[in-house]
């Protein structure tokens, strides 16, 4: 069985925070304790949506040392593939669900002397857990959180109240913007920067920090890519002797799983590298969308990350 180990949980609280974001609390069905985790970890939530099994990663936002329950916050994405809509519309109090053990691809670098957090919108969630972790460790941190407007600023009030000196909130509709250059320039040596939010923001922060001479090892980001729809294509899985049709709205990984072939994965968002698959033969073009393979590897066409990447062309043979 691929992916991290599974945990059976019950939904014990559903709290709408605003027009777009709802928080869910999970507790173990057997009443036992959940594993502790480290701030920045996510869990993959399984959703049985009609005939489709959806597996979506969500950052754990609860206290990493709290073992009685986990909480996640889900932003409704009306244009998305349906995972968030399922969470918002189908999931009811008391429902039993399957989630994965926590996996952390966005952990704090504890060698840092200071942690600088930059969040955009729902990108705030991993920082909520990291802040709780740093509270216990007495770590030094500072948060800069950009939101569309006050109504959609999930957890902004709580943060500002509990950590008035560390929290800085910016509202787009009030034309407030992070003075990124100045902010980065003023950080003491040994600061690490972490960014989670929309792609544009991640690129902006990473590029600016790099241009200002920040070492690559001090720049951390988390972006889960959702698989994008694309032209259907066919793939031959040599090791399992199966030919699989990948539909427009499913990912290559989902199609492989649908045919009962066990394929490795962890993040399902192009970030962890776990699903890396060897390409044995191909005639056509890859649509590489992951953050894992290097540009050279992408150009070489010998590997693909089936959780987010696709293929367009005549034939594709994978070692799976």
């Amino acid at each position: 069985m691929s992916g991290a180990e599974k945990i059976q949980v019950k939904v014990t609280e559903i709290t709408p925070l605003n027009e777009l974001v709802t928080r869910f609390r999970f507790e173990r069905v057997d009443g036992g304790q959940l594993p502790t985790f480290s701030g920045g970890a996510h869990t993959v939530v399984e959703m049985q949506d009609g005939g489709i099994t959806r597996l979506n990663p969500y950052s754990l936002m609860s206290d990493p040392f709290e073992q009685s329950s986990y909480t996640i916050s889900v932003r409704r994405d009306d244009q998305g593939r349906g995972g968030s809509l399922f969470m918002h519309r189908q999931v009811k109090l008391g429902d039993e669900m399957t989630i994965s053990y926590p996996v952390n691809l966005f952990s704090l670098d504890l060698r840092a002397r200071k942690h600088l957090f930059l969040a955009g919108g729902i990108g705030i969630t991993p920082f909520l857990a990291q802040i709780k972790q740093l509270d216990v460790l007495h770590g030094q941190w500072e948060l800069h959180y950009a939101c569309r407007n006050q109504a959609l600023a999930s957890y902004a009030d709580e943060l500002a109240e509990r950590h008035p000196h560390e929290t800085h909130i910016y509202y787009d509709d009030q034309k407030q913007a992070i003075d990124l250059k100045g902010l980065l320039n003023g950080q003491p040596l040994g600061t690490h920067v972490y960014v989670c939010g929309p792609k544009g923001m991640i690129d902006w922060v990473c590029n600016t920090a790099q241009a200002q001479g920040w070492p690559a090892d001090c720049i951390h980001y988390e972006e889960f890519l959702a698989p994008q729809p694309g032209k259907p294509f066919e793939v031959h899985l040599k090791a399992s002797g199966k030919t699989v049709y990948v539909g427009e709205h499913e990912s290559l990984l989902e199609a492989i799983e649908r045919e009962g072939v066990d394929a490795p994965y962890l993040c399902r968002g192009g970030a962890c590298g776990q699903c890396e698959t060897v390409v044995l033969d191909h005639e056509g073009n890859f649509v590489h969308r992951d953050h894992w393979l290097t540009d050279e590897e992408k150009a070489a066409g010998k590997k693909i990350m089936p959780c987010v990447s696709r293929f367009e062309g005549k034939s594709l043979v994978l070692d799976r």
Binding site: P188, L189, T191, G213, P215
Partner: protein, 198 residues
């Protein structure tokens, strides 16, 4: 001749690089002896306008040439130990974006690297270039004492007096190679010392 090609060795042995310009708001260059040549090699007026040079001559005389680059700040210290408080102060006050360049002997680079790491810079972000003497800073694995500037193998530990064999085994924490008793099994059977790279 200030450059030396170190022979290939075990994975523990540090690999030094070649200094190159990296963008950043501030630059700290620590040059020991012939290391000054590596600074002269990459100096440009733009870079120097944002650079603090700390020069430890150890018998060389590059001070005038370095001053002529008109760096933002220039300091000359008689020894690494004498320059250390200044190095610590600069690192303590520095902001992210500072680029650190170390050039000179392995012993100096290793120790200065530890200072930069102590304030939270990842070692991967610190540039180094070996120049000048190939003498090593050695730690005696028996008494833990450090002997500086070891040129021959075997050598006598300056603390406990044992005859030590110069290993390529390196400790980043101590910024030193490890010296192990050469006549441990057969006391007194000490080979004739020769240059480490002979």
């Amino acid at each position: 001749m200030s450059k030396f090609e170190f022979p290939k060795s075990i994975a523990s042995r540090p690999v030094w690089g070649t200094l190159e310009f990296r963008s950043g708001e501030h630059h700290l260059m620590i040059a020991e002896a012939e290391g000054a040549e590596a600074v002269l090699d990459i100096a440009t007026p733009d870079l120097m306008a944002k650079t603090h040079i700390i020069y430890i001559p150890r018998g060389t005389d590059y001070a005038d040439k370095l001053r002529a680059l008109t760096p933002a700040q220039f300091y000359e210290g008689p020894s690494y130990g004498a320059a250390l408080p200044r190095i610590r102060r600069v690192l303590e006050d520095a902001h992210m974006g500072l680029q650190v360049y170390l050039t000179g002997t392995e012993g100096m680079m290793g120790q200065a690297m530890n200072e930069a790491m102590a304030v939270g810079l990842p070692h991967t972000a610190i540039q180094t270039e070996h120049r000048g003497s190939t003498a090593r800073r050695m730690q005696c694995v028996h008494c833990k004492g450090i002997t500086e500037d070891v040129e021959v193998d075997p050598f006598v530990c300056s603390h406990c007096g044992l005859n030590l064999f110069v290993r390529d085994h390196y400790s980043r924490r101590h910024a030193a190679y490890q010296g192990v008793r050469v006549d441990a099994e057969d006391h007194g059977n000490v080979p004739e010392p020769k240059g480490i790279y002979e």
